[in-house]
């Protein structure tokens, strides 16, 4: 103890140095956008790799559950294939050129779900073609939008973040509203600005509207849990989210080949 105090007294200036340099770097990072972006990217690579190894260990504990999800998905896809095959007379008439979307599977290496501003980190980045503003979906519904990507990792803004906004609609009646999250529960989001004559019902399906060029149209979001008429003749609808963020391990990133074209066209018009 004595020796430690002696050391501290002798080398206290090194502590002062480290402290002041840390303050300087924090100031640098918080007030200079360029340096900030480089630090954040480097940080994402480092923490991404760390989380990936932690997640690797955790994966074993969830193997059974993941198996179940995959089996269920297999069955669903098999059913679809069956239906499609029945509807096509022979392979010559199949058209392979119309796919607008490309799916990249990715694994979640880190996520938060009990905060107000939650984020996910996935193990695919620029090298795998994942860039800003791509849609992310899970097996049971939409997940979020890619916020930033570094070489091998990307940060996703999930539905359960208070900054999240997406246009979604009631599938039955095609009325469109804004999906957002108000921070209460990671299982429930809100659909706002649905006009009063839309006549929603509990249990109605909510899907993406496809207006934003990020998400394709008609992806499952959730079902209506309850709703109330607000002042100004709009409904406030509570949506049971299809995705349970606490049990989410694998996602698909959707690359819309025509997104750039659509955004450019829309910007030109303004």
């Amino acid at each position: 103890m004595r020796g430690l105090l002696w050391l501290l007294r002798k080398y206290n200036y090194i502590l002062v140095f480290i402290f002041l340099e840390t303050v300087a770097i924090i100031l640098l990072s918080n007030h200079n956008l360029y340096q900030h972006s480089i630090l954040v990217n480097a940080n994402r690579e480092i923490t991404g790799n760390l989380y990936e190894s932690i997640e690797g260990a955790r994966e074993y504990l969830n193997l059974r559950q993941n198996n179940e999800i995959l089996v269920r998905e297999n069955a669903r896809l098999r059913n679809r294939l069956e239906r499609l095959e029945n509807s096509i007379p022979d392979s010559l008439s199949m058209d392979f050129t119309t796919g607008n979307y490309f799916y990249t599977p990715a694994k979640i290496v880190h996520s938060t779900h009990f905060k107000q501003f939650n984020y996910l980190t996935i193990n695919k980045g620029r090298k795998q073609g994942v860039t800003r503003d791509m849609a992310v979906i899970g097996e049971e519904g939409i997940v979020g939008i890619v916020l930033e990507s570094s070489a091998n990792f990307a940060t996703v803004l999930p539905v359960i973040n208070r900054d999240f906004r997406l246009s979604a609609k009631i599938r039955k009646s095609d009325f469109t509203g804004i999906l957002q999250w108000e921070g209460a529960s990671h299982l429930v989001a809100n659909l706002n600005e649905i006009p009063y004559h839309a006549e929603p019902a509990i249990g109605d399906t909510i899907v993406t509207s496809g207006y934003s060029a990020v998400f394709p149209e008609g992806l499952f979001v959730g079902t209506i849990r309850e709703f109330a008429l607000e002042e100004g003749n709009f409904y406030r609808i509570y949506v049971d989210l299809g995705t349970d963020f606490q049990r989410l391990f694998y996602v698909n990133v959707i690359n819309n080949f025509y997104r750039k074209e659509q955004v450019e066209l829309e910007n030109n018009r303004e």
Partner: protein
């Protein structure tokens, strides 16, 4: 003692004013930026405790940063400068040490001593500063060139100032 403290405090403000009002407005091509203000750290008395040097470096750096809107950049470089000064001083120490009641200036230790002392510290400061400014090693050699050219310019400004404004 009080006089020394007071003179240093006044010098603190004078170097900041010279840097911000005059030198920051002199544009000498993209490669030359004189950062004269570090003279304040160079001229602090030999006996200044190390923690005080660091705090002085921090205050000086952050004052310059506030004026140039680059919060943290000059602070990091100047704190580093204050951190290495004691080692550079011991590197250049005369055989029987620095005399009491003397200061690190041309007046006491001669031009060549002061020039070497100022050049090494200026180089270290500019090295940290310019690499923090570009923040990666992609343009390593063009940044190094900027460091070297600016070091020459800053050192000459500092040496000249010893003959004109901060004589004693």
């Amino acid at each position: 003692m009080i006089r020394i403290v007071a003179r240093n405090i006044i010098r603190f403000f004078v170097v900041i004013l010279i840097q911000v009002l005059v030198l920051d407005n002199v544009l000498l091509g993209g490669y030359l930026n004189p950062y004269f203000y570090i003279l304040f750290i160079l001229l602090l008395p030999f006996e200044t405790p190390r923690w005080l040097l660091l705090v002085a470096g921090f205050l000086l750096g952050i004052s310059i940063d506030l004026f140039t809107n680059t919060l943290g950049m000059h602070t990091a470089a100047t704190v580093f400068l204050a951190f290495v000064r004691p080692w550079v001083l011991s590197l250049f120490a005369p055989r029987d040490g620095y005399e009491p009641d003397s200061f690190p200036r041309i007046h006491y230790y001669g031009l060549s001593w002061f020039a070497a002392y100022a050049a090494i510290l200026t180089f270290l400061h500019h090295f940290v500063l310019f690499y923090i400014e570009v923040f990666h090693f992609q343009y390593f050699f063009s940044t190094l060139l900027r460091v070297l050219l600016s070091t020459i310019l800053t050192t000459s400004t500092i040496i000249l100032s010893q003959y004109f404004i901060f004589r004693k």
